[in-house]
Symmetry: C2
Subunit: 341 residues, 2 copies
């Protein structure tokens, strides 16, 4: 890692176009003096929105990529055919040591496949897991996997627990409480895989295993890391997002229902706005692809520039905290020698 932190940004990814990433990057370098950003994408669509002064300062540079990975692209097709895409070229910058972390708001499957191919996961870790901090009653709870692995073995769940624990410790928790997501808190509940994972976690003295939790306890903040397979994690995360959006719409609708409500809503507008902001999932944007040899961060596809800023923050933190190195150490694995940086 060089003295300055360099983040490669797949600027063409995301549903809202490249201006989101550009705007976020400009705010980000203004806010963090130790970071430079490499925007990767169609030069003709990026350069017009960046001031010559910023470019000449060198803190934001633009690297041309001719194509993009579309949200609907098949990951394997993208892996084989899209070697001139902004996603691929961002990840090659990371691989080659020209960047210390990579952020993309693009196709999750393609990002996983390309990351695994270019950045490599640690030997012994089959596929990276997607990990995200969830806002809960008391702080944040890390949850993984959120969709990278449809079916998991007990050993994979154990690896997720170890990686989640590393992330939580880097946040300052001394002995993070780790739980397995299940459909009941009782010991005998759930599938054979969960039963075996429970045994592995109980036997690991490095893990502060807190038992099974049900999905309604995700938001209580009683545990620090929740481990699950990617199918279950994806359902829990997406259902949560769906409810939050549903409730926000409901609040807006209630406030507009009749003249009296409109008047009330006007009076209470500062309060309502505060609530809306606190419920905004974009504040928690930025999922980590854990298990890779360098930090790769997935931003939400429809993240606005504030949310993308948040994903950049996660990338910066992971470089500073050296999360991949901590995970490597934990597994005591030998990584093949790195390229010269």
């Amino acid at each position: 890692m060089s003295a300055r932190i360099r983040i490669a940004v797949d600027a063409m990814s995301g549903d809202l176009g490249p201006r989101v990433a550009i705007c976020a990057a400009q705010n980000f370098i203004a806010h963090f003096q130790d970071v430079d950003v490499l925007l990767v994408g169609d030069e003709s669509r990026l350069l017009p929105f960046i001031s010559p002064k910023t470019i000449s300062s060198g803190r934001i540079s633009v690297h041309h990529a001719a194509t993009i990975v579309a949200m609907g692209d098949d990951p394997l097709h993208a892996l084989r055919r899209k070697k001139d895409s902004s996603m691929w070229l961002s990840l090659t910058r990371l691989r080659d040591g020209a960047a210390d972390a990579c952020v993309s708001a693009g196709n999750t499957g393609a990002l996983l496949a390309m990351s695994k191919f270019l950045v490599k996961s640690f030997p012994g870790l089959d596929r990276p897991a997607i990990c995200k901090p969830m806002p809960v009653e008391k702080g944040l709870t890390f949850m993984l996997d959120l969709g990278a692995n449809v079916n998991c073995t007990p050993m994979q769940l154990h690896q997720f627990a170890v990686m989640g624990s590393v992330l939580a410790k880097a946040k300052g928790l001394e002995s993070p409480r780790i739980a397995l997501l299940n459909i009941g808190a009782e010991e005998q509940k759930g599938t054979e895989v969960l039963q075996q994972a429970r045994e592995l976690l109980t036997a690991d003295s490095d893990i502060n295993y807190s038992g099974f939790v049900e999905a309604n306890s995700i938001f209580s903040g009683d545990v620090d890391v929740i481990v699950c397979d990617g199918f279950h994690g994806n359902i829990a995360l997406k259902a949560s997002e769906g409810v939050a959006r549903f409730i926000q719409k409901k609040i807006a609708k209630t406030a507009k229902k009749n003249l009296f409500n409109k008047f009330m809503a006007m009076l209470a507008w500062p309060l309502l706005r505060q609530m809306r902001d606190e419920l905004d999932p974009s504040f928690y944007n930025g999922a980590s692809l854990l298990g890779l040899q360098k930090p790769v961060i997935k931003s939400h596809g429809n993240a606005n520039s504030a949310a993308f800023f948040r994903a950049l923050t996660v990338a910066r933190e992971q470089v500073i905290q050296q999360i991949p190195a901590l995970i490597e150490k934990k597994f005591n694995l030998n990584i093949p020698p790195k390229r010269e940086e």
Copy 2:
């Protein structure tokens, strides 16, 4: 079915004690003139709260049960040992034709096991599925299974689709849109079981199959029935409940944060109360155990009396709509001859 509708109520079930069921039953018979309620439970704890006039009218009767099934009881243990419990005796009333439906807020696993043993599922249907209407942006969406079956075969998911369709049609929908819960909307996504279920649903001309939906679309109201295995359904339902509770707490906390917010909240109190009520999951209380030969309704364990009232409403509707007979017809199955009623 007799001319009047008789609902057997496991009055001792639920976390809040028998007064919830008693209060709900009294309001219910006042509201619906065609219903009588059989309260099953400890006479000494039930009778003091019911007026002699109500008892003498015969519209509420009390049937003694010496024990209860505890929330933590192992379902199989309960099935074998708790034959003097309020749950068991409520279900025997239903089995014997002394009641037309049964409502319990007790241990879900025990209720499933006892229902299957006493009320029987239709031949060919392995285990009942738990189905609940979810409040969504446009009306309600039925979701099943919500936790009765941890692993499901493609054929079971197909059966759930048929049963869900029956329930949605009884609500007045001509051709309910049926979807399978998955981690992506694309056809090739998900597990082998989901792929096979998709083929079965596509091939069934009686089913209006709408494809896969992700969990964040549960609340959009774009489909009428969402089919999933019990593990996934349970996670989606509980995560949703968790978020709703989290947000309610957050609203309350924001409103109390400082003097200014307190003042604002006071001003907007009618609006905030309205929101709180609209978010209250108790309004949607009452899950159906579909696939049984008679209606059995599960109320939420911590339902208050308004929520329990709602579960009684579901029971009444299912008797009137003859849901079990409609399901039987759909499967074209032969039920063993019923006892004389």
